[in-house]
């Protein structure tokens, strides 16, 4: 009886999370996000030098880690449309290896894990999707760092 009510409560929490007004979906949140994105564009245009190594390291670390956090959180909480958005974000992470130096073995592992995460997310296998997302983002981060260290 207690176990059943616990399951029901967890399900209710997930449903509440799904239908809750998300912070960045409100007009104010979208405005702030757009403003920050425009500011980031301006900083990248005017301040960041073309071959800044520190920025390359920060970019290789921050992007995949933040996206992995977002994807795992969304998969765990069953956020609405997460089964489509997680593969989209993972494709964005995997596109990092196109324009940056990378290690072939780690890139292969990352791409394979990304493909697995995509299929697992699309077919609602949440645990597999979470594990594959973590592996994909770790491998992509590692390959970018190794590539930067080698070609430095």
């Amino acid at each position: 009886m207690r176990e059943g009510s616990s399951h029901l409560l967890r399900l209710q929490n997930r449903m509440t999370t799904t239908n809750r007004a998300l912070p960045l979906r409100s007009p104010r949140g979208l405005f702030v996000l757009g403003l920050l994105a425009a500011g980031g564009l301006a900083v990248g245009w005017f301040i960041v030098p073309a071959h800044a190594r520190t920025f390359a390291y920060v970019h290789a670390l921050v992007g995949p880690i933040c996206i992995a956090t977002l994807c795992v959180s969304a998969l765990y909480r069953h956020v609405k449309h997460s089964r489509w958005l997680v593969p989209l974000l993972l494709i964005g992470v995997m596109l990092n290896v196109v324009s940056c130096p990378h290690d072939l073995v780690l890139t292969t592992i990352g791409l394979a894990a990304g493909a697995l995460a995509t299929f697992a997310s699309l077919f609602n296998h949440h645990r597999a999707a979470i594990a594959a997302t973590l592996l994909c983002c770790s491998a992509i981060t590692a390959t970018l760092l190794v590539g930067l260290l080698r070609h430095g």
């Binding site: 999370t17 809750r20 998300l22 912070p23 960045l24 979906r25 949140g29 979208l30 702030v32 996000l33 757009g34 920050l36 994105a37 425009a38 500011g39 980031g40 564009l41 301006a42 900083v43 990248g44 245009w45 005017f46 960041v48 030098p49 073309a50 800044a52 920025f55 920060v58 970019h59 921050v62 992007g63 933040c66 996206i67 956090t69 977002l70 994807c71 959180s73 969304a74 909480r77 956020v79 449309h81 997460s82 958005l85 997680v86 989209l88 974000l89 494709i91 964005g92 596109l95 990092n96 196109v98 324009s99």
Partner: protein, 131 residues
Amino acid sequence: MTTPVSNANSSFYDPNAQFSPVGGNEPDSATSGPSPAASPSREITLSPVVITGDPGAQQLVRQHEAARQAPDCSQEAKDAALSCAKAGITAAGGSLLATTVVGAGVAVAATLAEAFSCGKDLRTYYDCKTE
């Protein structure tokens, strides 16, 4: 009064003007051609000729002009398009997936990182196009 043919301001080619005979002798009439007094028109009819030269120099100049007009910025354009597409995907996905304030912060951080990269690559492309 007619204008003299050997005018100092005239720019036509006069072979007698460049010929300086040794000892003040007059040039031979057989080699110096007709004198101005004999043929006042000075018109010479040449048979059609083909002028051959080295086209390599002209081609090099043409290639240099073409290269200066349109620099090859295709790689920079690809990088800028890719990083800006990633920034758009991150912003859209992050805004839809962030469920909490912490999640929103993470989405904002990811969007900022990609926006920095997009701005840097756009600047690189702009510099390539304007150099």
